[in-house]
Amino acid sequence: MQALYHRLKALFPLGELTEQRENLVFVTVDAAHLRSLLLQLRDIEGFTHLVLLTAVDWIETGEFQLTYLLGNRAKRQDIGVRVMLSREQATMATIHDLWPTAATYQRELREMFGIDFPQSPGVNEEFILEGWNDIPPYRRDFNTLDYAEATYNDRPGRESRDPATYMREKLYGEGH
């Protein structure tokens, strides 16, 4: 995989190589070079299978990480291409013309993370959710527990005691 990395490095401004396994590596590339890198990987290097496309929300640094995972069946290798996007302007070029199935991924990312892929077919249609009126749910700043508690009723009658506190009350009559 090192050889591949060096070949690619000569052509594209790549970030550091993370070797997770002997047959799985991750590289970072900027958004502008993604498409040409993917084309290179698909057409020249034989990474023809788009395994998945997903995002990670690094809210601390204000970035979304898009991961394009490509597989090369003949060589039994996988490469994950990472693209960091600003959370503020989360827009990315679509790749549905390279892999038609990417349109589905992009539709999901649009809905669940709020990352836009202009020109991707049906990207603005509801995919999984229906009538969603909050921030995209997979974003880290969306708190699902709070939302669920505010929206759906609990069955009343649940209460619990902390053993340590309860024992102190019970054994020493201390209320703290």
């Binding site: 649940r158 005691r161 053993p163 309860y166 019970k170």
Partner: protein, 597 residues
């Protein structure tokens, strides 16, 4: 398409003649022996630690009090109530259960029109599957928490026998992390600890490697953390949830680990400065753990505290009773110095009743705390026990600490099976090794060895160091030869110690008599307090309870200005003394504040 394609489907009709494969009575079909069905809980085994609640990702478990279980040490009295409106039968609660009380039956049918009924406390609410034998139990090898304690590095017997160097090395950071990782943070120990140290929190600090946070937590509740990190009686570990199916967490060592990891220079800053002075004055008699803890608390609250100590150094029994190899003096000094740095004034070698009177203390101070501990050793009062070569263990230990000369026995017999007996036996053994090259110490006690009051570790180490232990021996008298020289201790074999009503009334087998040859007998059967410093008048005025000062829960005596704390009123235990110190300090502070208003 062939004829076969047309005809072969009709072969399906052969099934008409076969018996159906239907289960005849599906309503009463048993699930597999391992099936994870409805929960069972062995209420007697359960300790209500709430670990099941912690691991349940569904929020299905509530810990609630139940009528039939009382809260006691090591048992919170809570029992898990499971909401079958949440449960997913993953059995993580069974896997993690610290006592193995929670299991699952292989029953699986529960139908009810009322959705509020699907909540129950297994073992308490009677269910049809309570007695089911089959079902999921945690497989033997399947543990989600480590059961074995991380071994503590200690000096080997031959390395330690000829010196007073500290035996226990203390955990390394890696070891401490592993040990801290075993804790499930249930907090059952907190109530067991007399001073309610925030044990799960400081263990979490060890886990996180945040020792300064840990230290701050320690000194919130225990100014003798260095001492307790070494010699605490660790009641917490007796109630530890991990104890039930494995070793208890080494809480004491982890506490010590925190104090070891933070540089001593940082202590003062981490613990923080006292509050501004209030102008109130408090006198404390005795610089043992109880007295100094009270001093620490009161000083931090801004009161002016003066401590009067009869001996030449602070620490009380921790200094004069506990041998150096268990508690190095530097550790003790560090704790004491930290306390003194809070603005506590201390007068050493100042014996109340001799150098100052109680009256003068009362006049000069807003409150007085009596924390004099148990200084005097009890005697067996067996025949010939007034011989000069019959010692009290505490006296000898004091001599050793204070470097006072005494004639080191060549062969000694210790009476008693407690920690003090072990301390003196092992101290003498070291000195014998240093001076004579051989160890010749015998420990005798009434109980069987496994019922000794001493810690199991102490006994084990004493044996390693060459101390002989003769259990079930009732001392009957010292043997003195014609020249008046002590030559041995006569014991009878103990048949039973208590009578039917559990009163102390040892019975002996008089035929089974042994004389343990020795030149010294050491009595280590307990201590008592010398209250003569109070003076006759005060002694008369105060109320007493079976030889001890009578105090209320807050440590107040019957005199409004006098509090008492520590061993002298509660019996010997470092951490209890610390707890007492806190309690008295809080009570005094409250009183002083009320006076202000």
């Amino acid at each position: 398409m062939s004829v076969r394609d047309l005809l072969s489907p009709f072969s399906a009709w052969k099934n008409v003649l076969r018996d159906p494969v239907t289960i005849a009575d599906p309503l009463n079909r048993d699930a597999a022996p391992r099936y994870r069905g409805f929960h069972q809980n062995d209420i007697a085994k359960c300790i209500g630690c709430g670990t099941c609640e912690t691991i349940c990702q569904n929020g299905a478990i509530d810990m609630l009090p139940v009528d039939s279980v009382a809260t006691k040490i090591g048992d919170s009295g809570l029992r898990p109530r499971i909401d079958y409106g949440r449960c997913c039968w993953c059995a993580l609660c069974v896997d993690i259960c610290m006592t193995g009380s929670l299991t699952m039956s292989n029953e699986y049918k529960w139908v009810d029109p009322n959705p509020d009924n699907f909540r129950f406390t297994p073992g308490i609410d009677r269910k049809s599957w309570d007695s089911a034998e089959l079902g999921y139990q945690r497989p033997e090898q399947h543990r989600l928490t480590e059961t074995k304690r991380i071994a503590m590095q200690e000096l080997e017997a031959d390395e330690r026998i000829d010196n007073f160097a500290e035996i226990v090395a203390g955990y390394t950071v890696a070891e401490a992390k592993l040990e801290a990782d075993r804790c499930v943070s249930c907090g059952i120990c907190v109530a067991t600890c007399p001073t309610h140290m925030a044990i799960p929190e400081y263990i979490a600090a060890v886990r996180d490697g945040d020792y300064e946070r840990g230290l701050k937590i320690l000194y919130e509740t225990n100014p003798f953390s260095q001492v307790c990190g070494r010699v605490c009686t660790r009641k917490c570990e007796t109630s530890c949830a991990s104890r039930h199916e494995g070793d208890a967490i080494a809480i004491r060592w982890l506490k010590r680990h925190i104090t070891d990891q933070v540089p001593y220079e940082r202590y003062r800053e981490i613990v923080g400065d006292p509050l501004p002075p209030t102008g109130k004055k408090v006198a404390i008699i005795g610089a043992g753990p109880a007295g100094l803890t009270a001093a620490f608390d009161l000083a931090r609250l801004g009161h002016q505290v003066t401590v009067f100590e009869a001996k030449g150094a602070g620490g009380g029994m921790t200094r004069y009773g506990i041998p150096e190899y268990r508690l190095p003096y530097e550790a003790l000094d560090r704790d004491i110095n930290l306390i003194l740095s809070m603005g506590v004034e201390i007068h050493y070698n100042c014996r109340i009743g001799v150098d100052r009177t109680m009256d003068s203390l009362q006049q000069d101070h807003d409150a007085v705390v009596l924390a004099i501990g148990l200084q005097q050793g009890r005697q067996t009062r067996i025949p010939q026990s007034n011989h000069e070569r019959v010692y009290r263990a505490v006296d000898l230990l004091h001599k050793i600490t204070a470097n006072e000369p005494f004639e080191l026995p060549h062969c000694a017999v210790v009476i008693g099976g407690g920690n003090v007996a072990m301390d003196i036996a092992r101290s003498l053994a070291r000195m014998q090794k240093q001076q004579y090259g051989v160890v010749n110490i015998t420990v005798t006690a009434l109980e069987e060895q496994q019922h000794f009051m001493a810690d199991a570790d102490e006994i084990k180490e004493a044996l390693e160091e060459g101390v002989l232990i003769r259990d079930r021996c009732g001392p009957q008298g010292c043997e003195v030869d014609t020249g008046g020289k002590l030559i041995g201790l006569k014991t009878w074999r103990v048949v039973s110690i208590f009578d039917e009503e559990r009163r102390f009334a040892p019975k002996y087998d008089e035929q089974d008599e042994v004389v343990h040859a020795c030149d010294t007998v050491i009595e280590a059967i307990g201590q008592f307090s010398d209250n003569s410093l109070l003076g006759e008048l005060l002694t008369e005025t105060l109320e007493w309870d079976r030889g001890r000062l009578k105090i209320d829960a807050a440590g107040r005596t019957s005199e409004p200005w006098l509090w008492s704390a520590g061993d002298c009123v509660k019996g010997p235990d470092v951490v209890s003394a610390v707890a007492d110190g806190h309690r008295v300090a809080a009570s005094i502070h409250q009183k002083l504040q009320e006076e202000d208003r």
